[in-house]
């Protein structure tokens, strides 16, 4: 078989120009493929198709956009005009809009098919968008006629080498004949209570494996942006062995509890109620890394960067100068509604781009509460920590426990980050001898010896200082309601 006889689908993929979508599709659309994009009105189908057209036109391709809808081209373009991908200079040579409405009304599907074939040829188009497939379906005399239309369009796409996107509001459940096409992409908006979010799912894709499951996407002025589900693209390789490289907090009294340090690239969790000192502990870990010449990342959900820097400075931790010189980046995400994969993307992109060695994520509970997908948390964190380990970044997660005091220990050891963290620190407020004290305990540290005694620690203008073990016998410290076994003061 000569090269000219090779089927079109062995060609390079057609990039959609939608960030994240090509990854979900295993590299992009297959040339000469016929795809259906299904979604309710407002789901983002028209935007996706236009984004693809302008992306392709920018690279020199010619795109034909055929509408069967009531919405005028002028209105559609007015909606696109503010989008970053839009470029009026690409009209009409790069992106050409025609209406097939009247042809469909007067000549039915055969007339429409003829129009599509002829216009693709006239414009030498490599991309064809048919916006309003449901109108074509309704105009079909029978299901058989509609199947014939799709089949003939596929034949035409193969012969004339154009890739086709057909947009419709009716899914394959309503029209089983859609399964004839090369791929089905579904866009949908979901709501839970007062919250809504957008999802994309590849229901069918001939030619290669795609990232399975549901992926979040958002629509901004940049257009559509897909955030492939982290769990679906996590590397299935063992993380690099950190060897002898160890990480310390730079707090002599704390580091003395585990002189061997934490394994580089490991994941640690510090649990504790609000105000107990998790942020200071994380800031100390980063400050020590920065002193060692490493690049660091602080991802926070509570204090905005200026307040955080002032708070750290009040405990003798100077982070501001490192922010100024670019070695420390602070990603601040107010604890509002969030897409987990957007956060993961922000975090991992920065880690990869700046070759970050230490990460502190302050406020995992904010992340958990801000997403509607709480059932994902365990697998999400497993994937996130795997990626961070593969990048060789030592990560500390701060996880807030809801209870300030009391006999119940809120340690979610069986799920989420606790299950995947190699090292676990537990901070607690404790009332002892009429004074509120801070208490630190190490629950587990992998591959290193540690002092398991319960320690009081203080935070002053000089930073954190872990005090020597209690000189008197004190029980039930971890409950927050400590008492001397014998009663009374020592």
């Amino acid at each position: 078989m000569s090269s000219s006889e090779q089927p079109a689908r062995t060609d390079a993929r057609v990039s959609t120009g939608v960030p994240g979508l090509d990854s979900v599709l295993g590299g992009g659309l297959v040339p000469s493929g016929v795809y259906i994009v299904v979604g309710e009105p407002g789901a983002g189908k028209t935007l996706l198709a236009n984004q693809l057209c302008y992306h392709q036109a920018r690279a020199g391709a010619r795109c034909l956009y055929v509408t069967l809808l009531a919405e005028s081209h002028a209105r559609m373009l007015a909606n696109m005009r503010d989008m970053a991908f839009f470029d009026s200079a690409l009209l009409p040579e790069g992106v050409y809009y025609v209406s097939g409405f009247r042809t469909l009304e007067e000549q039915g599907l055969p007339g429409l098919l003829e129009l599509l074939r002829r216009e693709v040829r006239n414009h030498n188009a490599s991309i064809l968008v048919l916006d309003g497939l449901v109108q074509a379906q309704e105009a079909a005399g029978s299901q058989r006629d509609f199947k014939k239309f799709i089949h003939e369009l596929q034949v035409a796409a193969g012969l004339a080498r154009f890739t086709s996107l057909m947009l419709t509001s009716d899914g394959p459940t309503a029209h089983p004949e859609y399964t004839m096409v090369d791929g089905i992409l579904e866009l949908r908006e979901r709501t839970a209570g007062v919250r809504s979010w957008r999802e994309l799912q590849v229901r069918k894709f001939r030619g290669s494996a795609t990232l399975a499951g549901v992926h979040g996407f958002r629509i901004t002025q940049a257009g559509l942006e897909v955030f492939p589900r982290l769990e679906a693209r996590v590397r299935r390789v063992p993380p690099p062995d950190p060897g002898i490289y160890r990480v310390h907090f730079g707090i002599p009294s704390l580091d003395a509890l585990f002189p061997g340090g934490l394994a580089a690239g490991s994941t640690s969790l510090v649990l504790g109620p609000p105000g107990v000192g998790k942020t200071m502990m994380g800031s100390s870990l980063l400050a020590e890394g920065l002193r060692q010449g490493e690049t660091c990342l602080f991802m926070g959900f509570y204090e905005p960067p200026n307040r955080l820097l002032n708070k750290a400075a009040s405990a003798g931790i100077d982070l501001k100068s490192w922010v100024d010189d670019g070695r420390l980046n602070i990603i601040w995400q107010p604890p509002a509604e969030c897409i987990l994969d957007v956060l993961a993307d922000q975090l991992l992109s920065d880690v990869r781009k700046r070759k970050v060695k230490r990460v502190f994520v302050d406020g995992l509970s904010a992340m958990t509460q801000a997403t509607p997908e709480t059932s994902r948390m365990a697998s999400f964190f497993a994937a996130l920590t795997q990626e961070l380990r593969c990048e060789g970044a030592t990560t500390l997660f701060g996880l807030e426990t809801p209870r300030l005091f009391g006999p119940v220990l809120d340690v979610p050891l069986e799920s989420g980050p606790s299950a995947v963290a190699e090292n676990l620190f537990f901070l607690r407020h404790v009332e002892l001898e009429g004074r509120l004290r801070r208490l630190l305990s190490i629950f587990k540290l992998r591959d290193t010896d540690y002092d398991p005694t319960l320690r009081e620690f203080v935070i002053s203008r000089q930073g954190i200082e872990v005090l020597p073990p209690f000189s008197v016998a004190v029980d039930t410290l971890l409950t927050g309601l400590a008492r001397h076994p014998g009663g009374g003061h020592s």
Binding site: T67, S72, A74, A78, S88, A89, L91, P92, R118
Partner: protein, 121 residues
């Protein structure tokens, strides 16, 4: 009565423009693409052709080219309209007026009148 031929592939716009111009006292004929427009013109020579730019079968530029090449159509006023940036079209066709879609009724009627008047001068 002056005759206006409106050419647009978007049925809704075509009908709306036709109704509007009829109400203003024009005789209106319509076509949904350039080839249909040329057929109409041979049946009934219009005073003005108001044409869209991106259309199937025969588009705006091709239609204008054919009208200008046909001696029988000399003197027919031309007015283009498009959703694409018409400033580029104005540079390409400096001797032809264009309406930027979307436009309001006042602008349309003014431009139609102006195009017809320029033909009579």
């Amino acid at each position: 009565m002056e005759t206006v031929l409106v050419v647009d592939d978007e049925q809704g716009i075509l009908e709306a423009l036709a109704d509007l111009l009829r109400e203003e006292g024009y005789r209106v004929v319509t076509a949904s693409h350039g080839r249909e427009a040329l057929e109409r013109m041979t049946e009934l020579r219009p005073d003005l052709v108001l044409t869209d730019w991106m259309m199937p079968v025969l588009d705006g530029p091709a239609l204008i080219g054919r009208i200008r090449a046909e001696p029988a159509f000399q003197g027919v006023a031309l007015l283009g309209m498009s959703a694409v940036d018409v400033s580029a079209l104005r540079r390409q066709y400096p001797d032809m007026p264009f309406l930027q879609k979307p436009f309001d009724i006042g602008t349309l009627l003014k431009q139609v009148r102006k195009a017809l008047d320029s033909r009579q001068r």
